[in-house]
Amino acid sequence: MEPSTKTENGKTLFVDPSKLRQWLPGILFILVAIFIKFVLNKSIGTDALTTFATNINEKAIQIPNFVFNTRNALDLIAGLCAGIGLYQIIRGFKKKTSTIIALIGVLVVLGFLVWGASGSSISFTGMLAVMVIRSVPITIGALSGILCERAGIVNIAIEGMMISGAFAGAVIGSIFGLWAGILAAIVIGALLALVHAVLSIKYKVDQIISGTMINIFSTGLTSYLYIKFLQSSENQWLNESGFFKPYAIPFLSKIPVIGPIFFDHNLYIYAMYILVAVLSIALFKTRWGLRHRSVGEYPKAADTLGVNVFRTRYLACILSGMVAGFAGSYFSLGSVGRFEQTMTAGRGFIALAAMIFGNWNPVGALQAGMLFGFAESLTTKLSLLNFPIPAEVLLMLPYIITIIVLAGVVGRSRGPAASGTAYEKESL
């Protein structure tokens, strides 16, 4: 993804634009604070209490629920927002701005939750546990994107690889067992990525077109096969893979609050943690990682030093596909235990936004994934709370957030410099 080229039209400017960019968010934050204090707060009685339930199940050490006065909580949140807003106007956060925006987002959401749950109880811990679960396909998808783009190839086909992985996982999983299903998903992802690689590297097809083609092909093929083979009742055995059960990590899962949220899930969540760690180390601390990144930044330079650009890119693509396929298998083998058409619902694209938001960094991707996961978990919770906003509108939330994230962040971050262009071996 290319960062924006700043527009340079000759226009009359009355205000220095850099100051405006600093004030605007600050003013926004203060407006948010005012909204929380005067709109939300006013509609609640002074005695209203909100309860954040802290225990999801009996496995962890139990602690009492967190009960507090709604108005006080809202005041606190409003105060924090206002404070941050003032700081932004006076000093500005500069490099940390996206973190701060995320922080304000979190505060706003917290405010809504406190307000919405006033007079009743809400399982905040439960929400966070769901956040972790929901973040899995997005984070792993983002890791797939990072693997590919850091070497200079844009992978728009993560969505297609995911749905193929979900399908392969479900069907092979039904026939040969869960682990075979995972293997099948990884292989399918790798094959699709190989096609993408050959098209982008050898035939120098525009990477967006090649990726879009794989998406069209994958959705088409999986739907075709589903209708042809999986819909009839006698074939149901082909689509009943079941799913991986959660496994509570001993000791860690007993920690109150933190335990059930992070350490009591199935293999996919743990795989996510491991992949983030492994990729972080591999990219920044190993020889492989240095060469991999050099090819994405300045392939000619790497080439003159003997790094095989083409081989590196092929490998990057295939690894990316394997990870994307694995991410896809989550939908079937890690969640509902079967394949349904369009079960990925655009998460492959949200994963790309998470990658950008996370600055092409595995740990950043994890954070961004959690953010999107939180949005999704919020959606379910809010509809249960009888929020005045209809459920369908809430379902839009992750997608709208993606748009906002992209709009706000892209100008500030820089992706790998050579990403998206085919490498030509030409005279220097």
Binding site: G10, T286, R287, T304, S427
Partner: protein
């Protein structure tokens, strides 16, 4: 003792062109050999073959008398050959250590990088050869001269004995060039051998032990500096008598066309690249802006052509304030702009010549009536201009990317010069072109000046500035240090100014005919 390097019969063909034609070259140990030739002569191709980036169709390479097969840069490196490219092969977001190590990394068990060990070695090399480089710096923060030294360290890190330098002085001030030559002498003293590719005649005379001249893929002459002169070398390079000096009529100044007052402009990274620049330009004269690439010239030109809004200051064109005007308005007031990067800014490569020739006039009569394009007029215009400016092309509808560099530049010149213009801003107009095209463009520019046009010539080639300009301004770190008459200043003084040093042995004060400020 066999020569440390010998190339025998190297031949390389590309579709439609014979780049290297049975070339024989010898390099002795401890010598600096200069390969001289104009752009497109084949010298870079030859060196790319030596470095393993190309495979020769015929010919052999011998190192220390033994035949070697070099089919990739790794082979070249293993044979002790290293290359510093014209455009640096450095990754901006990596540190010096990472850039130097890439491909030859020091590792712990299991492939984990050992940055410390590499950094220590880099420090060692830097001290030994007096290179002054800090391994932990991010390359993108380093000035150009230092970046070049990082490239040299890359080679020494890999124990290169034969160093190839491709146009190394293109981005340096004359003082930095001297420093580079000193470094080369140090390298040679310590036993290294150097091949130096260039098209700059004077440097070759200063620095080389031996000179080989290449033209059209063949070696056409061998000599040593003691027996050569710039004129002789130029003749060998081009194949005919070359008049190194263009005839220039005395300057006949008309009224003021452009006034720039305390102009400040930011660059793409938001740093202030142009600081309070002030100067005036009149019709009938050429003002040359000299300076090493990256001192604000690019941003200055973009502000003057309406492509970037200045932070402060005023630009007056023909009496009108255009400080914040659009590029279209500035064009319509009678300005022509030959851009620095012709393929990026000046042409739409995938479009035919007809459309490129009306790139900034398509919206006016006769090329359009209202919003309807007038194809006939556009095509006629193309036919006419192709003839008038001698653009070599199969047809008027040929897409511009098929044309040679010189002809592409001619398209831009044809377009810009076919309007009535009062101000011409030419930015690096002859970069990468062959001598014939350079001559042509210089003559066209002088023509415009003689017709009363005001010309602003921005160039990193000091020779070009000294040949063409009537007055010369030197830009350094965003300031204009001084503006002098061309015939009242020496190249050495200009060199000092380009490095930010006001010559202490200052002659008479530069004449100020209008308001000019001298910033010491």
């Amino acid at each position: 003792m066999p020569p440390i390097l010998e190339l025998k019969g190297i031949t390389k063909r590309f579709p439609g062109v014979l780049a290297n034609d049975h070339i024989d070259i010898k390099l002795e140990k401890g010598e600096i050999l200069a390969l001289l030739g104009e752009n497109g002569a084949g010298k870079t191709t030859l060196m790319n073959i030596l470095y393993g980036l190309y495979k020769p169709d015929e010919g052999e390479i011998f190192i220390n008398g033994k035949k070697v097969e070099i089919s990739s840069p790794i082979d070249a490196i293993r044979s002790g050959v290293g290359m510093v490219h014209q455009h640096f092969m450095l990754i901006p977001v990596f540190t010096v250590t990472e850039n130097v190590m890439l491909g030859e990394e020091y590792t712990h068990h299991g492939g984990f990088l050992d940055r410390k060990k590499a950094a220590d070695r880099i420090r060692e090399i830097s001290e030994l050869y007096k290179l002054n480089v800090n391994p932990d710096d991010l390359v993108e923060n380093l000035p150009v001269g230092l970046q070049q030294r990082v490239e040299i360290i890359k080679l020494l890190f890999r124990n290169a004995d034969i160093l190839i330098m491709d146009e190394p002085t293109a981005v340096l001030t004359p003082q930095e060039v001297d420093e580079l030559f000193n470094i080369l002498k140090t390298l040679v003293e310590k036993g290294k051998s150097i091949i130096f590719i260039t098209h700059k005649l004077r440097e070759v005379m200063e620095c080389a032990d031996r000179i080989e001249v290449i033209r059209l893929g063949k070696v056409v002459g061998s000599t040593i500096p003691a027996e050569a002169s710039p004129e002789k070398l130029a003749t060998m390079m081009v194949g005919r008598e070359v008049d190194l000096k263009t005839e220039k009529k005395p300057c006949n100044i008309c009224e003021t066309v452009l006034t720039v007052e305390k102009l400040s402009v930011r660059d793409m990274l938001n740093r202030v690249a142009v600081k309070d620049v002030t100067f005036e330009l009149s019709g009938g004269e050429i003002l040359g802006i000299a300076g090493v690439q990256g001192n604000g010239q690019t941003e200055l030109v973009r502000a003057l052509t309406g492509l970037r809004t200045p932070i402060s200051g005023k630009i007056t064109l023909l009496g009108k304030d255009v400080s914040r005007s659009s590029s279209r308005r500035i064009t319509e007031l009678g300005t022509a702009h030959i851009p620095e990067d012709r393929q990026k800014d000046g042409l739409v490569l995938a479009s035919p010549i007809t459309e490129n020739l009306v790139l900034n006039t398509y919206h006016r009569r006769p090329f359009s009536k209202g919003i309807i394009l007038q194809r006939l007029a556009i095509n006629e215009n193309a036919t006419e201009l192709i003839k008038k400016f001698d653009i070599r092309t199969p047809g008027i509808l040929t897409k511009v990317h098929y044309l040679s560099g010189g002809n592409q530049q001619k398209v831009i010149i044809a377009r810009e010069f076919s309007r009535p213009i009062k101000l011409l801003i030419a930015s690096q107009p002859t970069r990468g072109l062959d001598v014939g095209s350079i001559e042509y463009i210089h003559n066209r520019i002088l023509e415009k000046r003689d017709q009363g046009c005001a010309v602003l010539l921005v160039s990193t080639e000091l020779d070009e500035i000294m040949q063409l300009a009537d007055r010369i301004a030197v830009m350094f770190r965003g300031n204009i240090l001084t503006i002098v008459k061309a015939n009242e200043v020496t190249k050495e003084d200009l060199g000092l100014l380009m490095a930010g040093i006001t010559p202490s042995s200052h002659k008479e004060k530069p004449h100020t005919t209008k308001t000019e400020e001298i910033i010491t």
